[in-house]
């Protein structure tokens, strides 16, 4: 904000607009907007099906700017992050990204996010929700600086099987050499752009980080470069379909920030959420380590797993039973989807021990509203591994030129 311009009264405009908002506004035919982390963002541009299929068959643009971004830098930045998250950050090399989770003292998940190592002592942490109080309290005793830089950086996810081709045509020479979870610095038309090969779709894709002032022209140039490759802007609904297929978790859907839970027993540990592979007990102390060791020793009470549900009706919010008669409740569905790509009815579900072993048969109690008449189905379901969809093109370097 220039110093001599007074800001608009915040109560008049409670939601901020991202630097891509003007472009999104033009394309949002159905006018479906949604607040996310203080910004107004698009839920659906045209139709969710069109947008979903663009993710799996073409190239999509998704405005990531509201993603909360923290700059973490200083001589103790590595030690600080290593104490904060469950993965061993010492292994993360400059120019690489890591998917991480962090816990409270009880080993319960606060949030997940990505850590970008931008230099020896400089990192960027991206999260879906604001965490500054926890991050600052965690910094006591560490020589580290933490500041939120969300508004300083515009971010755009470019995802889909033709995304690499589109980025090359857009002007990012050499982007095809970028490996999964790698960061590259590029210049396109005089605009410095940082690219990371990361995303939330489980498909080939990239995320572009740029100056807010460049956002509009980058969007326009990408749209032009992708014209022959079916490029399309997508909203959060289509993205949500793709992330369920990829088996990724969404805060407040598949888990609740442990520091926000009010009721006893609602907080979840990363082990319970099937994220045990992110917990590295061999490294020095990290938040929740003692509680997680104890949990591992005692055995898991519940586990988030994939579910293959019979039929084609998504098992939204379904309770799960051990037998068809529906007497013994053993869990519930957190996310559900008829997967157009897998041609399977899939779900993520939190299931109590011992019913979470792969291959276990459970019964999903599905309620269907058919023209205002409610029907109930007991659908046979099988516990399966995640992810449901993981195409080879996601990892291929260089990606196929199409």
């Amino acid at each position: 904000m220039p110093p001599n311009v007074s800001p608009p009264p915040h109560f008049r405009k409670p939601l901020l607009e991202t630097p891509f908002h003007a472009r999104a506004r033009e394309l949002a035919q159905t006018d479906h907007f949604l607040p996310w982390a203080g910004y107004t963002t698009v839920e659906v541009f045209t139709s969710v099906e069109q947008e979903y299929f663009a993710i799996r068959n073409a190239t999509t643009l998704y405005d990531l700017t509201p993603m909360v971004k923290y700059r973490i830098a200083g001589p103790d930045a590595v030690d600080y992050l290593n104490r904060l998250v469950t993965r061993d950050i010492r292994k993360l090399k400059p120019g690489r990204v890591s998917y991480v989770v962090w816990c409270n003292d009880r080993g319960h998940l606060i949030d997940d996010g990505t850590v970008f190592r931008l230099g020896a002592e400089e990192f960027r942490l991206c999260t879906a929700e604001r965490q500054l109080d926890w991050l600052l309290d965690s910094s006591l005793g560490f020589d580290v600086e933490i500041e939120e830089v969300t508004t300083e950086i515009a971010a755009l996810a470019v995802q889909g099987p033709t995304s690499c081709f589109v980025l090359k045509r857009f002007g990012l020479a050499g982007v095809e050499r970028l490996k999964v979870f790698e960061i590259g610095e590029y210049t396109a038309g005089g605009r410095p752009i940082m690219v990371s090969r990361t995303g939330f779709t489980g498909d080939l894709g990239y995320e572009l980080w740029m100056r807010p002032g460049d956002a509009g022209s980058v969007w326009d140039d990408l749209m032009a470069a992708g014209k022959t490759r079916g490029i399309r802007a997508i909203g959060s609904q289509a993205l949500n379909m793709a992330r369920i297929e990829a088996g990724f978790l969404l805060p407040n859907v598949d888990f609740v920030n442990a520091e926000h839970t009010v009721r006893v027993g609602r907080a979840r540990s990363p082990l319970e959420l099937g994220l045990g592979w992110l917990v590295e007990f061999d490294k020095p102390h990290f938040n929740g380590r003692r509680a997680l060791l104890e949990e591992r020793r005692r055995g898991l009470k519940r586990l988030l797993v994939g579910l293959d549900v019979s039929g084609n009706k998504p098992a939204h919010n379904a309770l799960l039973y051990a037998e068809q008669a529906g007497r013994r409740e053993v869990g519930s569905v957190t996310s559900a989807l008829w997967s157009p790509t897998c041609k399977r009815n899939i779900a993520l579900a939190l299931i109590e021990a011992p019913h979470y072993a792969p291959g276990t048969t459970l019964w999903a109690d599905i309620y269907l509203n058919r023209e205002l008449v409610w029907e109930r189905r007991m659908a046979r379901s099988t516990v399966v591994d995640r992810p449901f969809f993981a195409p080879d093109r996601r990892r291929a370097t260089p990606p196929a030129d199409r």
């Binding site: 030690d79 104490r83 904060l84 409270n104 003292d105 926890w134 309290d137 965690s138 006591l140 005793g141 560490f142 020095p284 102390h285 938040n287 929740g288 380590r289 003692r290």
Partner: protein
């Protein structure tokens, strides 16, 4: 004492106690008696922490921190065998006298009944009953001080039994008394005292005991709790507990150290611990300032919680939530210490010579104390501070050259960091305190030959107490018993295996009491059993 290094080399030590304060020494003695090999490491050149006697002007010595002994249970002192270690009293059953400019001194307690009768027949009738009731409560609560607090939300039978015992002790007071205890325990001292008594000087004297060393005025909620805690400890220290060790409080510390050595512990002074060593999430020893590393199976810290966790251990070994709680511990000290070297014994108008050997309180009313506190809230030094004055040389002439005297006063409330800064404020404020003394003992200023004023910041620097707080953190409901200093470290154990606390940060808190040290030793031994 210098052979500790070689013994550590030949056989790994069981226990290291960081800090040779009174609690650390008590803890070491009990551990050594249970057959543990124990090494006490004290940074200063002598043991005692803030319970030391030191020279503040050539030939004049004084107890630099607490200047009276009244909280240490007699049974504990007997168990430690302090009499056999050369510990003697210079004075016992010392009187307390409330003094106020322009009014006759008022002796407090049983010896003052006649004087009180003359001032207020109503109070003369009410005070003994009130005092006796508080004492009954204090006696009922004492076992609470002398035991490891139960854990909150625990299913273990030891924790449940401890809670049941506490409830039972309160219940056995009888229905009426139990109700009265539960009615008053969360109250403020001001209301309780003003309900029962009318004489401002008597009210002030009782109110002073409720807030000594804390960051509260008598109107703050929870000050009845602090009063009862003090009375509970005193109930085990004798019927008339105020005492002065011969040679000052430092002599008590010397005797405690001798008891520890007699029990088999080793005490190394002038040995500062730089940090606690942690391996595989376990405390395995310490590293000294000199770089020397000493291994031990258990490390027990006599330092306050903030110093232990933040300076000696390091937050990287702890979870954020725990660190947050420790960081939020309220430990800003508000008590300062004034030491004066005097040419001759001062004279307080109307005060009998015998009373000079006791403690003199300048806290002439509850409002006076409250106003003194009000200033400190805003970083100001009150122009009318409350004072607890002793003249230790009356009972123990060895502390000063022949015929000369020492005045030792606790000054409340003195902010940790005055808004104007201590560099600018020190001389001015020392003058304010001297003027207050002069108003009560005319002519005193002209007899002063040397002055030492220790602010809370000075006490922090000299004795390593965070915030210069006498109790290593306020005694208040949210920092008391099973949540003292913080949940997760309230049973003397810490989140790091093998690391314990034994200082005043722990239940039952500060003052020269020694119970935290004994309870901590029990916790260490219980864990090992």
């Amino acid at each position: 004492m210098s052979d500790a290094g070689s013994s550590a080399a030949t056989r790994r030590l069981d226990c290291i106690v960081i800090g040779g304060g009174h609690n650390g020494l008590v803890c070491a003695t009990y551990l050594a008696r249970a057959g543990r090999s124990v090494l006490v490491l004290e940074a200063a050149g002598r043991v005692g922490g803030a319970a030391v006697t030191r020279e503040f002007a050539p030939g004049y010595r004084v107890s630099a921190g607490a200047h009276l002994l009244h909280l240490m249970p007699r049974a504990l002192m007997d168990e430690l065998g302090l009499a056999g270690q050369g510990f003697t009293y210079a004075g016992r059953d010392l009187p307390t006298t409330a003094i106020a400019a322009g009014l006759a001194p008022l002796p407090i307690g049983a010896p003052g009944q006649a004087a009180l009768q003359a001032v207020s027949p109503r109070d003369a009738a009410a005070y003994p009953a009130f005092s006796a009731r508080l004492r009954r409560f204090a006696v009922a609560l004492y076992p609470l001080l002398d035991s490891i607090p139960p854990r909150l939300g625990s299913d273990a039978w030891t924790d449940r039994i401890a809670l049941l015992k506490l409830g039972w002790r309160i219940r056995t007071l009888g229905r009426r008394e139990m109700r009265e205890l539960l009615r008053i325990i969360g109250m403020n001292a001001y209301d309780l005292i003003a309900d029962e008594l009318e004489t401002p000087r008597l009210q002030g004297a009782l109110g002073f005991d409720a807030v000594l060393g804390t960051n509260f005025g008598p109107r703050a909620p929870g000050t009845v709790l602090t009063l009862l805690t003090r009375l509970a400890a005193e109930s085990a220290a004798g019927s008339s507990p105020l005492a002065q060790p011969r040679g000052g409080l430092g002599a008590l510390s010397e005797a405690l150290a001798k008891a520890a050595v007699a029990a088999g512990a080793t005490v190394r002074t002038g040995t500062r611990v730089a940090r606690i060593r942690v391996q595989a999430d376990r405390a395995v020893g310490v590293v000294l300032d000199s770089g020397e590393s000493i291994d031990a199976g258990t490390v027990i810290s006599n330092a306050d919680a903030k110093s232990t966790f933040f300076k000696l251990l390091g937050t990287r070994h702890l979870d954020t939530g725990f660190v947050r709680k420790v960081d939020h511990l309220r430990s800003r000290g508000l008590a300062a210490k004034l030491h004066l070297a005097l040419d001759r014994l001062p004279s307080f108008p109307g005060l009998p010579i015998a009373a000079l050997g006791g403690r003199l309180l300048i806290a002439p009313s509850l409002d006076y104390i409250e106003r003194a506190w009000d200033h400190s809230k805003y970083g100001e030094c009150s122009s009318a501070p409350t004072l607890e004055i002793t003249l230790p040389t009356v009972n123990d002439p060895s502390l000063a050259p022949a015929g000369r005297h020492v005045l030792s006063a606790i000054v409340q409330y003195v902010p940790y960091q005055p808004a104007a800064g201590w560099a600018a404020e020190r001389a001015r404020y020392t003058d304010v305190v001297l003027a207050t003394l002069e108003a009560h003992a005319p002519g005193l200023r002209s007899t002063v030959t040397a002055t030492e004023f220790l602010t809370p910041a000075d006490l922090e620097r000299e004795f390593g107490m965070s915030g210069g707080h006498w109790h290593h953190g306020d005694l208040a409901f949210d920092q008391f018993y099973m949540v003292r200093p913080v949940p997760g470290a309230a049973q003397y154990r810490t989140p790091v295996t093998g690391l314990y606390l034994c200082g005043a940060s722990c239940h039952p808190g500060g003052g020269v009491m020694g119970l935290a040290g004994r309870n901590a030793a029990r916790a260490v031994l219980r864990k090992a059993a």
